[in-house]
Amino acid sequence: MGDSGIIQPWEAWVRSTWLHQWVHSDLWIWPICESLHFIGLSFLFGSVALFDLRVLGVAKAIPVMALHRLIPFGIAGFVVNLLTGIVFFSGYPEQYAYNAAFRVKLVLLVLAGLNAALFYTAIFRDVRTLPAGADAPFKAKLITGISLGAWIGVLICGRLLTFFRPPFFH
């Protein structure tokens, strides 16, 4: 990896994109995108994390499928965060690529994604019929527990990014 002081070809490419130019074209673009990123994560937590908590046994009075109808808002929040995340990366690519917190965040994002795929292919049919007050099967609790843990981990790594910046600046 290019942890030396040398600009790697891919970094030069990122810096040549219009997105990179745009990020640096106005001082307020960065704070506005950060605010959107934080609002997006709140929507993710307000739907996905609450759904996970319901399957885990909190607020059992809510039928699982009813709460699942909030998930599109979590997906919308995730899309906002993916887009603003791409904006951040294009602005300072080396700050992220050579950042331990960012790398762990990516691993946790992949874990959350694979875990969600597993949930919908293997678990969802056991959960969708759960009425108000019903306890979810252990397998479902395990998967939603991993989901909740992974998203909290993503948030922690994201917030810690700035404290793991590489010492060099290209």
């Binding site: 009813a66 709460l67 109808r69 909030l70 108000a132 917030r159 404290f163």
Partner: protein
Amino acid sequence: MDSFLPWLEGTALSLYVRESESIAFGFPGILVLHTLGMGFLAGISFAIDLRILGFARGVSLSALQKFLPLFAVALVVNVVSGILLLIGYPTKALTNPVFYVKLTLIACGLFLLQRIRREAFAPGLTFEPFPKNLRRIAIASIICWMGAITAGRFLAYTYIFLLYGHATRF
């Protein structure tokens, strides 16, 4: 104020918040807690507001109320972590008008949630669609929390003094 701020910045706790090298128990860890709490505070509020606006029918509001203890925990976490951040950099926050905007928006968000609890969470109340005034409150609540998040993020870009007696940022 002119003797209070330098005194506060000289206390052991203020110095600890600013200068502790610990990631988990120093400034970064406090920020992580503040962000995680924000995700649950704004997220639970968004979920309740969206429910009132007609999404996720089938989730009774009295069932959603089961998430209010988690909201309360997140509120305590954020008041405590917020006070610690304030003790670390009192001049930075208290001399920035945006800080008072943030506090006002949070107060409005909490007041609106309280009104929703009083008017919509009565057990057995199943009006659907919700009356217009409640829907207006829900929209105002979403705006307040989005505004509070944005103001919070903008604190890092709008402060005038970092510490008492230090040169301005600009």
